[in-house]
Point group: C2
Chain length 242, copies 2
Protein backbone atom coordinates (compact mmCIF):
# COMPACT_ATOMS: atom_id res chain seq x y z
CA UNK A 1 0.00 0.00 0.00
CA UNK A 2 1.81 3.08 -1.23
CA UNK A 3 0.10 6.44 -0.64
CA UNK A 4 0.70 9.04 -3.35
CA UNK A 5 1.09 12.43 -1.71
CA UNK A 6 1.79 15.68 -3.50
CA UNK A 7 -1.26 15.74 -5.76
CA UNK A 8 -2.39 19.38 -6.01
CA UNK A 9 -5.95 20.64 -5.67
CA UNK A 10 -7.72 19.35 -8.79
CA UNK A 11 -9.70 21.58 -11.15
CA UNK A 12 -12.06 20.76 -13.99
CA UNK A 13 -10.12 19.80 -17.09
CA UNK A 14 -6.91 18.88 -15.26
CA UNK A 15 -4.97 15.95 -16.70
CA UNK A 16 -5.49 13.81 -13.61
CA UNK A 17 -3.58 10.86 -15.05
CA UNK A 18 -0.51 13.04 -15.58
CA UNK A 19 -0.69 14.28 -11.99
CA UNK A 20 -1.10 10.71 -10.72
CA UNK A 21 1.84 9.50 -12.82
CA UNK A 22 3.99 12.29 -11.42
CA UNK A 23 2.91 11.54 -7.83
CA UNK A 24 3.66 7.84 -8.40
CA UNK A 25 7.32 8.73 -8.94
CA UNK A 26 7.61 8.96 -5.15
CA UNK A 27 6.68 5.27 -5.04
CA UNK A 28 9.24 4.42 -7.70
CA UNK A 29 6.74 4.72 -10.54
CA UNK A 30 3.86 2.51 -11.54
CA UNK A 31 4.78 -1.14 -11.98
CA UNK A 32 3.09 -3.87 -13.97
CA UNK A 33 0.36 -5.46 -11.83
CA UNK A 34 -0.15 -2.38 -9.64
CA UNK A 35 -3.66 -1.24 -8.85
CA UNK A 36 -4.09 2.50 -8.54
CA UNK A 37 -6.91 3.50 -6.21
CA UNK A 38 -8.14 7.06 -6.77
CA UNK A 39 -10.66 8.83 -4.57
CA UNK A 40 -13.87 9.65 -6.42
CA UNK A 41 -13.66 13.25 -5.30
CA UNK A 42 -10.63 14.09 -7.44
CA UNK A 43 -11.99 12.17 -10.42
CA UNK A 44 -15.25 14.10 -10.21
CA UNK A 45 -13.44 17.42 -9.89
CA UNK A 46 -11.23 16.71 -12.90
CA UNK A 47 -14.37 15.84 -14.87
CA UNK A 48 -16.13 19.02 -13.76
CA UNK A 49 -18.81 17.04 -11.94
CA UNK A 50 -19.69 19.82 -9.53
CA UNK A 51 -22.78 21.92 -9.14
CA UNK A 52 -23.23 25.30 -7.51
CA UNK A 53 -25.96 25.68 -4.91
CA UNK A 54 -26.93 28.91 -6.69
CA UNK A 55 -27.93 26.98 -9.82
CA UNK A 56 -30.39 24.76 -7.97
CA UNK A 57 -34.12 25.51 -7.67
CA UNK A 58 -35.39 23.30 -4.86
CA UNK A 59 -38.52 21.30 -5.63
CA UNK A 60 -41.36 20.95 -3.16
CA UNK A 61 -40.05 17.53 -2.12
CA UNK A 62 -36.56 18.96 -1.55
CA UNK A 63 -38.04 21.68 0.64
CA UNK A 64 -40.10 19.17 2.60
CA UNK A 65 -37.15 16.87 3.23
CA UNK A 66 -34.84 19.76 4.08
CA UNK A 67 -37.19 21.12 6.73
CA UNK A 68 -35.50 23.75 8.87
CA UNK A 69 -32.25 21.85 9.31
CA UNK A 70 -30.74 21.71 5.85
CA UNK A 71 -30.25 23.82 2.74
CA UNK A 72 -33.08 22.71 0.40
CA UNK A 73 -30.78 23.30 -2.57
CA UNK A 74 -28.42 20.61 -1.29
CA UNK A 75 -31.35 18.21 -0.99
CA UNK A 76 -32.39 19.19 -4.52
CA UNK A 77 -28.93 18.18 -5.76
CA UNK A 78 -29.35 14.81 -4.03
CA UNK A 79 -32.78 14.24 -5.58
CA UNK A 80 -31.46 15.06 -9.05
CA UNK A 81 -28.71 12.47 -8.64
CA UNK A 82 -31.12 9.86 -7.26
CA UNK A 83 -32.87 7.23 -9.34
CA UNK A 84 -34.77 6.06 -6.24
CA UNK A 85 -34.98 7.06 -2.59
CA UNK A 86 -34.24 3.96 -0.51
CA UNK A 87 -34.63 5.50 2.94
CA UNK A 88 -34.83 8.96 4.42
CA UNK A 89 -34.85 10.41 7.88
CA UNK A 90 -35.21 14.16 8.13
CA UNK A 91 -33.00 15.59 5.42
CA UNK A 92 -30.75 12.53 5.39
CA UNK A 93 -31.43 10.54 2.23
CA UNK A 94 -30.10 7.13 1.25
CA UNK A 95 -30.64 6.78 -2.47
CA UNK A 96 -29.95 4.56 -5.40
CA UNK A 97 -27.91 6.44 -7.98
CA UNK A 98 -28.32 6.16 -11.72
CA UNK A 99 -25.40 3.71 -11.63
CA UNK A 100 -27.34 1.44 -9.25
CA UNK A 101 -25.20 2.22 -6.19
CA UNK A 102 -27.04 2.68 -2.92
CA UNK A 103 -25.41 5.34 -0.76
CA UNK A 104 -25.99 8.39 1.40
CA UNK A 105 -27.05 11.55 -0.44
CA UNK A 106 -26.78 9.75 -3.80
CA UNK A 107 -23.06 10.46 -3.59
CA UNK A 108 -23.49 14.25 -3.40
CA UNK A 109 -20.90 15.72 -1.06
CA UNK A 110 -19.87 19.12 0.18
CA UNK A 111 -16.60 18.05 1.81
CA UNK A 112 -13.40 18.54 -0.19
CA UNK A 113 -15.43 20.61 -2.69
CA UNK A 114 -13.39 22.95 -4.86
CA UNK A 115 -15.06 26.03 -3.41
CA UNK A 116 -17.78 27.36 -1.10
CA UNK A 117 -21.31 26.75 -2.32
CA UNK A 118 -20.15 23.92 -4.55
CA UNK A 119 -21.20 20.29 -4.32
CA UNK A 120 -19.30 17.39 -5.84
CA UNK A 121 -21.32 14.75 -7.72
CA UNK A 122 -20.32 11.21 -8.63
CA UNK A 123 -18.80 10.77 -12.11
CA UNK A 124 -21.41 10.10 -14.79
CA UNK A 125 -19.74 6.76 -15.62
CA UNK A 126 -17.09 5.87 -13.02
CA UNK A 127 -16.10 2.68 -14.89
CA UNK A 128 -15.36 4.84 -17.92
CA UNK A 129 -13.42 7.23 -15.66
CA UNK A 130 -11.29 4.31 -14.44
CA UNK A 131 -10.80 3.04 -17.96
CA UNK A 132 -9.83 6.49 -19.21
CA UNK A 133 -7.25 6.92 -16.45
CA UNK A 134 -5.84 3.47 -17.17
CA UNK A 135 -5.40 4.18 -20.88
CA UNK A 136 -3.91 7.62 -20.32
CA UNK A 137 -1.51 6.27 -17.69
CA UNK A 138 -0.47 3.64 -20.22
CA UNK A 139 0.31 6.38 -22.76
CA UNK A 140 2.25 8.43 -20.23
CA UNK A 141 4.19 5.71 -18.40
CA UNK A 142 4.17 2.64 -20.64
CA UNK A 143 2.36 0.69 -17.90
CA UNK A 144 -1.42 0.35 -17.72
CA UNK A 145 -2.22 -0.26 -14.03
CA UNK A 146 -5.49 -1.53 -12.73
CA UNK A 147 -7.54 1.49 -11.68
CA UNK A 148 -10.23 1.67 -9.01
CA UNK A 149 -12.26 4.79 -8.34
CA UNK A 150 -13.23 4.62 -4.66
CA UNK A 151 -15.83 6.28 -2.50
CA UNK A 152 -16.86 5.97 1.16
CA UNK A 153 -20.21 4.21 1.53
CA UNK A 154 -22.20 3.44 4.64
CA UNK A 155 -23.61 -0.06 5.10
CA UNK A 156 -26.94 -1.40 6.28
CA UNK A 157 -26.74 -2.64 9.89
CA UNK A 158 -23.09 -1.71 10.37
CA UNK A 159 -21.75 1.51 11.78
CA UNK A 160 -19.23 3.60 9.88
CA UNK A 161 -18.23 3.78 6.25
CA UNK A 162 -15.81 1.70 4.24
CA UNK A 163 -14.36 2.66 0.91
CA UNK A 164 -15.72 0.66 -1.99
CA UNK A 165 -15.13 0.56 -5.74
CA UNK A 166 -17.51 2.69 -7.80
CA UNK A 167 -15.35 2.46 -10.92
CA UNK A 168 -12.86 -0.14 -12.09
CA UNK A 169 -10.72 -1.08 -15.07
CA UNK A 170 -7.96 -3.60 -15.56
CA UNK A 171 -8.66 -5.33 -12.26
CA UNK A 172 -11.16 -8.05 -11.32
CA UNK A 173 -14.03 -6.82 -9.15
CA UNK A 174 -15.48 -10.20 -8.17
CA UNK A 175 -13.42 -13.29 -7.44
CA UNK A 176 -15.53 -16.36 -7.92
CA UNK A 177 -14.52 -19.31 -5.75
CA UNK A 178 -17.50 -21.33 -6.97
CA UNK A 179 -16.37 -24.85 -7.51
CA UNK A 180 -12.98 -24.42 -5.86
CA UNK A 181 -12.25 -26.64 -2.90
CA UNK A 182 -11.24 -25.49 0.53
CA UNK A 183 -8.24 -27.14 2.19
CA UNK A 184 -10.40 -30.02 3.46
CA UNK A 185 -11.83 -30.81 0.03
CA UNK A 186 -15.26 -29.25 0.61
CA UNK A 187 -16.43 -27.61 -2.59
CA UNK A 188 -17.00 -23.92 -1.84
CA UNK A 189 -20.58 -23.40 -2.84
CA UNK A 190 -21.37 -19.79 -3.49
CA UNK A 191 -18.37 -17.80 -2.44
CA UNK A 192 -17.86 -14.70 -4.52
CA UNK A 193 -15.45 -12.19 -3.05
CA UNK A 194 -15.90 -8.50 -3.87
CA UNK A 195 -12.18 -8.07 -4.21
CA UNK A 196 -12.36 -4.56 -5.72
CA UNK A 197 -14.25 -3.35 -2.65
CA UNK A 198 -11.63 -4.90 -0.39
CA UNK A 199 -8.86 -3.20 -2.37
CA UNK A 200 -10.65 0.16 -2.14
CA UNK A 201 -11.10 -0.30 1.62
CA UNK A 202 -7.48 -1.33 2.04
CA UNK A 203 -6.34 1.78 0.19
CA UNK A 204 -8.49 3.97 2.43
CA UNK A 205 -6.29 2.87 5.32
CA UNK A 206 -3.45 4.85 3.76
CA UNK A 207 -5.42 7.56 1.97
CA UNK A 208 -6.43 9.56 5.00
CA UNK A 209 -9.38 11.73 4.13
CA UNK A 210 -8.19 14.68 6.15
CA UNK A 211 -4.60 14.54 4.93
CA UNK A 212 -5.21 15.40 1.28
CA UNK A 213 -3.84 12.19 -0.19
CA UNK A 214 -6.36 11.12 -2.82
CA UNK A 215 -4.61 8.12 -4.36
CA UNK A 216 -2.61 5.04 -3.46
CA UNK A 217 -0.86 2.25 -5.32
CA UNK A 218 -1.57 -1.32 -4.24
CA UNK A 219 1.26 -3.62 -5.20
CA UNK A 220 1.64 -7.39 -5.10
CA UNK A 221 -1.99 -8.46 -5.44
CA UNK A 222 -1.31 -10.86 -8.32
CA UNK A 223 -4.88 -10.67 -9.54
CA UNK A 224 -5.88 -11.39 -13.09
CA UNK A 225 -9.00 -10.17 -14.79
CA UNK A 226 -10.75 -7.02 -15.89
CA UNK A 227 -14.08 -6.20 -14.24
CA UNK A 228 -16.35 -3.22 -13.96
CA UNK A 229 -17.66 -1.74 -10.72
CA UNK A 230 -21.16 -1.86 -12.19
CA UNK A 231 -20.91 -5.65 -11.76
CA UNK A 232 -20.80 -5.04 -7.99
CA UNK A 233 -24.39 -3.83 -8.10
CA UNK A 234 -26.60 -6.69 -6.90
CA UNK A 235 -28.90 -7.68 -9.76
CA UNK A 236 -32.50 -6.72 -8.80
CA UNK A 237 -33.73 -10.31 -9.11
CA UNK A 238 -31.15 -11.49 -6.57
CA UNK A 239 -31.47 -8.47 -4.26
CA UNK A 240 -33.40 -9.36 -1.10
CA UNK A 241 -33.28 -5.72 0.04
CA UNK A 242 -35.20 -3.92 -2.66
Amino acid sequence: MLPLPGIPEIEAGDDLAALLAEAAQSAGGIERGDVLVVAQKVVSKAEGRTVSLDELQPSALARTLAGDEEDPRRVEAVLREAARIVRSRGSFVIAETRHGFVCASAGVDASNAPGPGLLVLLPLDPDASASGLRERLGQLTGVRPGVIVSDSFGRAWRHGTTDVAIGAAGVPVLLDLRGERDSSGYVLGGTTIAVADEIAGAAELVLGKAAGVPAALVRGLELEGDGRARDLVMPPERDLFR
Copy 2:
Protein backbone atom coordinates in the same frame (compact mmCIF):
# COMPACT_ATOMS: atom_id res chain seq x y z
CA MET B 1 0.16 -7.44 4.63
CA LEU B 2 1.98 -10.57 5.69
CA PRO B 3 0.14 -13.88 5.27
CA LEU B 4 0.94 -16.49 7.91
CA PRO B 5 1.09 -19.89 6.23
CA GLY B 6 1.88 -23.16 7.95
CA ILE B 7 -0.95 -23.15 10.50
CA PRO B 8 -2.14 -26.76 10.85
CA GLU B 9 -5.75 -27.93 10.86
CA ILE B 10 -7.19 -26.58 14.13
CA GLU B 11 -8.99 -28.77 16.67
CA ALA B 12 -11.04 -27.89 19.73
CA GLY B 13 -8.78 -27.00 22.62
CA ASP B 14 -5.74 -26.15 20.49
CA ASP B 15 -3.62 -23.26 21.73
CA LEU B 16 -4.36 -21.11 18.70
CA ALA B 17 -2.24 -18.21 19.96
CA ALA B 18 0.81 -20.47 20.19
CA LEU B 19 0.25 -21.71 16.64
CA LEU B 20 -0.20 -18.12 15.41
CA ALA B 21 2.96 -16.99 17.22
CA GLU B 22 4.89 -19.81 15.62
CA ALA B 23 3.50 -19.06 12.16
CA ALA B 24 4.38 -15.38 12.66
CA GLN B 25 8.05 -16.34 12.84
CA SER B 26 7.97 -16.59 9.04
CA ALA B 27 7.14 -12.87 9.00
CA GLY B 28 9.97 -12.10 11.41
CA GLY B 29 7.75 -12.35 14.47
CA ILE B 30 5.02 -10.06 15.74
CA GLU B 31 6.08 -6.44 16.10
CA ARG B 32 4.64 -3.67 18.24
CA GLY B 33 1.77 -2.00 16.37
CA ASP B 34 0.99 -5.06 14.25
CA VAL B 35 -2.61 -6.11 13.79
CA LEU B 36 -3.17 -9.84 13.53
CA VAL B 37 -6.22 -10.77 11.49
CA VAL B 38 -7.48 -14.29 12.15
CA ALA B 39 -10.25 -15.99 10.20
CA GLN B 40 -13.30 -16.74 12.36
CA LYS B 41 -13.28 -20.34 11.23
CA VAL B 42 -10.08 -21.27 13.06
CA VAL B 43 -11.10 -19.31 16.16
CA SER B 44 -14.40 -21.16 16.26
CA LYS B 45 -12.72 -24.51 15.77
CA ALA B 46 -10.21 -23.88 18.56
CA GLU B 47 -13.13 -22.92 20.82
CA GLY B 48 -15.06 -26.05 19.90
CA ARG B 49 -17.86 -24.01 18.33
CA THR B 50 -19.01 -26.75 16.01
CA VAL B 51 -22.18 -28.78 15.91
CA SER B 52 -22.87 -32.14 14.34
CA LEU B 53 -25.83 -32.46 12.01
CA ASP B 54 -26.72 -35.67 13.87
CA GLU B 55 -27.36 -33.71 17.09
CA LEU B 56 -29.93 -31.43 15.48
CA GLN B 57 -33.69 -32.10 15.56
CA PRO B 58 -35.18 -29.84 12.88
CA SER B 59 -38.18 -27.77 13.95
CA ALA B 60 -41.24 -27.34 11.77
CA LEU B 61 -39.94 -23.95 10.61
CA ALA B 62 -36.58 -25.48 9.70
CA ARG B 63 -38.33 -28.15 7.69
CA THR B 64 -40.51 -25.58 5.92
CA LEU B 65 -37.55 -23.36 5.01
CA ALA B 66 -35.41 -26.31 3.95
CA GLY B 67 -38.05 -27.62 1.54
CA ASP B 68 -36.63 -30.27 -0.77
CA GLU B 69 -33.41 -28.45 -1.53
CA GLU B 70 -31.56 -28.35 1.78
CA ASP B 71 -30.82 -30.48 4.82
CA PRO B 72 -33.38 -29.31 7.44
CA ARG B 73 -30.81 -29.96 10.17
CA ARG B 74 -28.52 -27.32 8.65
CA VAL B 75 -31.42 -24.84 8.63
CA GLU B 76 -32.12 -25.80 12.25
CA ALA B 77 -28.54 -24.87 13.16
CA VAL B 78 -29.05 -21.50 11.47
CA LEU B 79 -32.30 -20.85 13.33
CA ARG B 80 -30.68 -21.72 16.67
CA GLU B 81 -27.91 -19.19 16.00
CA ALA B 82 -30.36 -16.51 14.85
CA ALA B 83 -31.86 -13.84 17.08
CA ARG B 84 -34.01 -12.62 14.19
CA ILE B 85 -34.60 -13.60 10.58
CA VAL B 86 -33.98 -10.53 8.44
CA ARG B 87 -34.75 -12.04 5.03
CA SER B 88 -35.16 -15.49 3.60
CA ARG B 89 -35.57 -16.95 0.15
CA GLY B 90 -36.02 -20.68 -0.06
CA SER B 91 -33.61 -22.18 2.43
CA PHE B 92 -31.29 -19.18 2.23
CA VAL B 93 -31.62 -17.17 5.44
CA ILE B 94 -30.12 -13.79 6.29
CA ALA B 95 -30.29 -13.44 10.04
CA GLU B 96 -29.27 -11.23 12.90
CA THR B 97 -27.03 -13.17 15.26
CA ARG B 98 -27.06 -12.88 19.03
CA HIS B 99 -24.11 -10.51 18.66
CA GLY B 100 -26.21 -8.21 16.48
CA PHE B 101 -24.41 -9.03 13.24
CA VAL B 102 -26.57 -9.44 10.15
CA CYS B 103 -25.21 -12.12 7.85
CA ALA B 104 -26.06 -15.15 5.75
CA SER B 105 -27.02 -18.30 7.69
CA ALA B 106 -26.38 -16.50 11.02
CA GLY B 107 -22.72 -17.30 10.46
CA VAL B 108 -23.26 -21.08 10.29
CA ASP B 109 -20.95 -22.58 7.70
CA ALA B 110 -20.12 -26.02 6.36
CA SER B 111 -17.00 -25.02 4.42
CA ASN B 112 -13.66 -25.61 6.09
CA ALA B 113 -15.45 -27.62 8.80
CA PRO B 114 -13.28 -30.05 10.76
CA GLY B 115 -15.14 -33.08 9.45
CA PRO B 116 -18.11 -34.32 7.42
CA GLY B 117 -21.49 -33.63 8.98
CA LEU B 118 -20.06 -30.83 11.09
CA LEU B 119 -21.05 -27.17 10.97
CA VAL B 120 -18.93 -24.32 12.31
CA LEU B 121 -20.70 -21.64 14.37
CA LEU B 122 -19.53 -18.13 15.20
CA PRO B 123 -17.67 -17.73 18.49
CA LEU B 124 -20.00 -17.00 21.41
CA ASP B 125 -18.18 -13.71 22.08
CA PRO B 126 -15.76 -12.88 19.25
CA ASP B 127 -14.51 -9.73 21.01
CA ALA B 128 -13.53 -11.90 23.96
CA SER B 129 -11.89 -14.34 21.53
CA ALA B 130 -9.81 -11.49 20.09
CA SER B 131 -8.95 -10.22 23.55
CA GLY B 132 -7.93 -13.69 24.71
CA LEU B 133 -5.66 -14.19 21.70
CA ARG B 134 -4.09 -10.78 22.28
CA GLU B 135 -3.31 -11.50 25.92
CA ARG B 136 -1.99 -14.98 25.24
CA LEU B 137 0.18 -13.69 22.38
CA GLY B 138 1.52 -11.09 24.81
CA GLN B 139 2.48 -13.85 27.25
CA LEU B 140 4.11 -15.94 24.54
CA THR B 141 5.92 -13.29 22.54
CA GLY B 142 6.21 -10.22 24.76
CA VAL B 143 4.19 -8.20 22.22
CA ARG B 144 0.42 -7.78 22.41
CA PRO B 145 -0.72 -7.13 18.82
CA GLY B 146 -4.06 -5.77 17.84
CA VAL B 147 -6.28 -8.74 16.98
CA ILE B 148 -9.20 -8.85 14.57
CA VAL B 149 -11.38 -11.91 14.11
CA SER B 150 -12.69 -11.71 10.55
CA ASP B 151 -15.53 -13.29 8.64
CA SER B 152 -16.91 -12.96 5.11
CA PHE B 153 -20.23 -11.12 5.05
CA GLY B 154 -22.48 -10.29 2.16
CA ARG B 155 -23.85 -6.78 1.85
CA ALA B 156 -27.23 -5.34 0.99
CA TRP B 157 -27.36 -4.11 -2.63
CA ARG B 158 -23.81 -5.12 -3.46
CA HIS B 159 -22.68 -8.36 -4.99
CA GLY B 160 -20.06 -10.54 -3.33
CA THR B 161 -18.70 -10.74 0.18
CA THR B 162 -16.05 -8.71 1.93
CA ASP B 163 -14.30 -9.72 5.12
CA VAL B 164 -15.34 -7.68 8.14
CA ALA B 165 -14.38 -7.61 11.81
CA ILE B 166 -16.61 -9.68 14.08
CA GLY B 167 -14.15 -9.52 16.98
CA ALA B 168 -11.49 -6.97 17.92
CA ALA B 169 -9.06 -6.10 20.66
CA GLY B 170 -6.19 -3.64 20.88
CA VAL B 171 -7.16 -1.89 17.67
CA PRO B 172 -9.67 0.87 16.97
CA VAL B 173 -12.77 -0.25 15.09
CA LEU B 174 -14.23 3.15 14.24
CA LEU B 175 -12.18 6.19 13.33
CA ASP B 176 -14.17 9.31 13.99
CA LEU B 177 -13.30 12.23 11.75
CA ARG B 178 -16.12 14.33 13.23
CA GLY B 179 -14.85 17.83 13.65
CA GLU B 180 -11.65 17.31 11.69
CA ARG B 181 -11.13 19.51 8.67
CA ASP B 182 -10.48 18.34 5.16
CA SER B 183 -7.61 19.90 3.21
CA SER B 184 -9.82 22.83 2.13
CA GLY B 185 -10.91 23.68 5.67
CA TYR B 186 -14.40 22.17 5.44
CA VAL B 187 -15.33 20.55 8.74
CA LEU B 188 -16.04 16.88 8.03
CA GLY B 189 -19.51 16.46 9.40
CA GLY B 190 -20.32 12.88 10.17
CA THR B 191 -17.47 10.82 8.81
CA THR B 192 -16.84 7.71 10.85
CA ILE B 193 -14.64 5.14 9.15
CA ALA B 194 -15.10 1.47 10.01
CA VAL B 195 -11.37 0.95 9.99
CA ALA B 196 -11.50 -2.55 11.51
CA ASP B 197 -13.70 -3.72 8.64
CA GLU B 198 -11.27 -2.22 6.14
CA ILE B 199 -8.37 -4.01 7.85
CA ALA B 200 -10.27 -7.31 7.79
CA GLY B 201 -11.07 -6.84 4.10
CA ALA B 202 -7.48 -5.91 3.32
CA ALA B 203 -6.23 -9.04 5.06
CA GLU B 204 -8.64 -11.18 3.04
CA LEU B 205 -6.70 -10.12 -0.05
CA VAL B 206 -3.77 -12.19 1.23
CA LEU B 207 -5.65 -14.85 3.20
CA GLY B 208 -6.99 -16.80 0.26
CA LYS B 209 -9.90 -18.92 1.41
CA ALA B 210 -8.96 -21.88 -0.72
CA ALA B 211 -5.26 -21.81 0.17
CA GLY B 212 -5.55 -22.70 3.85
CA VAL B 213 -3.97 -19.52 5.18
CA PRO B 214 -6.20 -18.39 8.06
CA ALA B 215 -4.22 -15.43 9.43
CA ALA B 216 -2.26 -12.39 8.33
CA LEU B 217 -0.26 -9.66 10.01
CA VAL B 218 -0.98 -6.08 9.00
CA ARG B 219 2.00 -3.84 9.67
CA GLY B 220 2.45 -0.08 9.55
CA LEU B 221 -1.12 1.06 10.24
CA GLU B 222 -0.10 3.44 13.04
CA LEU B 223 -3.55 3.34 14.58
CA GLU B 224 -4.17 4.09 18.23
CA GLY B 225 -7.14 2.94 20.21
CA ASP B 226 -8.86 -0.15 21.48
CA GLY B 227 -12.34 -0.89 20.19
CA ARG B 228 -14.70 -3.81 20.11
CA ALA B 229 -16.36 -5.24 17.01
CA ARG B 230 -19.70 -5.05 18.80
CA ASP B 231 -19.40 -1.26 18.34
CA LEU B 232 -19.66 -1.87 14.58
CA VAL B 233 -23.26 -2.99 15.03
CA MET B 234 -25.50 -0.08 14.06
CA PRO B 235 -27.50 0.94 17.12
CA PRO B 236 -31.19 0.08 16.50
CA GLU B 237 -32.30 3.69 16.94
CA ARG B 238 -29.96 4.81 14.15
CA ASP B 239 -30.56 1.82 11.89
CA LEU B 240 -32.76 2.77 8.93
CA PHE B 241 -32.83 -0.88 7.78
CA ARG B 242 -34.56 -2.64 10.65
